[in-house]
Symmetry: none
Subunit: 228 residues, 2 copies
DNA sequence: TAGATATTTCCATTATTATCGAAGTATGAA
DNA sequence: TTCATACTTCGATAATAATGGAAATATCTA
């Protein structure tokens, strides 16, 4: 922890039962939307906003905005461990579990996030590209390595052309279903468009959900070294 | 820690400034009377009662009653270390210090506690007897060992006679100045009466204070293996 | 564009909590 | 027995904080 949070303040934050519940939920290490936290803690969205603001000001949690959503998570591992200390001596809370509708489930496996791949597939792809040495994390975006340029060329993606475009090249994008980062920006968009063009995936009508085609089931694991 | 205190509850305790002060005072490891804690925290006795009750219920502190006094202290070393951790990074508190009057000072060095020795001398005597293997702590009282029976006989104290008396034989007695235990009960009384009879100590008029005589300064260190 | 969803702001209400005066109980001292 | 001391209980008050209704803003969807 770089900042020395005031323990009395932290204690005051934790001492509220509703906030304790929310913290407990976020201690799974993932990010959760405001409405999800509200529902699980059994309060109205306005009240959730009230508490989330407090906790953000107290530097206990941080927020990542994603369009009209906001995802909240524990600020850093240091804060988490302090909170764990409190939790380690505390009993469990009853937390309402989210009912996952079938529609929701489909969205989780693969979908578009604006104009790039998200969901389980989006996250898997990015981590596969990191493992292959194609991408390197750098703050809030990804950089392409020299070997990466070659690899992307085999997918008919020209880095230099993409970089000319008037948009972010490859920002990290927090995934609401996986709670991990996938890749947005021009590069994310290019990869999405290409594998769509190759017929490896297709859009499902009236939703952001994506289906992997038979062709895709054949090629994607080979090219990216992942299991689907 | 054997009992599982509730996290939100513990946090709620710490988040109050007055309680933090009181905890801070008790973290010296000693027991403090309710009025002492009230004065040092800058609140009225009623308010202190209110907080002390809360902390006792939260299993953070425990209490030992001593006549009309009550002495409060951190429940156990485990709780103490958790509290230390949280308070160590919190800002310091201004705590009123107790003014010690000369009369008060005299009482601290040696005095009677009802009918037995208390104060520095009382505490020293008991720990010396423990070290010599005369006494063994057992819950809230002391037991006399076989060697102890012999030793006490040299002081003309007959254990078997004492045990016949209709009073507690040797309960532990919390000392308000030393905040450690000395010995009450029939045994504590017998020891007191004997060394008074030997002229090793004498009562000061109109107070509970005790003075060690020249004779006592000669014999007590020798017999009990202590420094005065 | 209109409609749906996610979150926020504003505001009034309710709940919780710390505080202390006044009066009561318990204990020790004279 | 009478008085003083240590602590507690009760009740009123004031400060603080949590809650959600109503309406606004922002973003995505159709």
């Amino acid at each position: 922890m770089d900042v020395n949070p005031n323990m009395a303040l932290v204690a005051a934050i934790i001492s509220d039962k509703t906030r304790s519940k929310m913290i407990f939920i976020m201690l799974d290490g993932r990010f959760h939307s405001a409405s999800e936290l509200a529902y699980m803690a059994g309060i109205k969205p306005q009240t959730a906003t009230f508490h989330l603001k407090k906790m953000t000001e107290a530097q206990i949690i941080k927020v990542e905005k994603q369009g009209r959503h906001k995802y909240f998570g524990i600020k850093d591992p240091g804060v988490a461990s302090v909170l764990e200390t409190f939790l380690s001596i505390a009993p469990q809370f009853e937390v309402r579990s989210l009912k996952k509708s079938p529609r929701d489930k489909a969205l989780r496996s693969a979908r578009t996030c604006y104009d790039h791949l998200a969901g389980n597939l989006g996250v898997k792809l990015v981590s596969a590209l990191e493992k292959k040495g194609v991408l390197v994390k750098e703050n809030d975006k990804y950089e392409v390595t020299n070997e990466g340029i070659e690899f992307l060329a085999t997918l008919q993606i020209n880095i230099y052309e993409l970089k000319k475009k008037r948009r972010s090249f490859s920002h990290k994008c927090l995934d609401w279903s996986e709670r991990k980062h996938h890749m947005g920006g021009a590069l994310g968009n290019a990869i999405f468009e290409k594998i769509l063009e190759f017929g490896w995936i297709k859009r499902l009508p009236n939703t952001r959900a994506i289906k992997i085609t038979t062709l895709g089931e054949e090629h994607i694991p080979k090219i990216f070294n992942i299991d689907l």
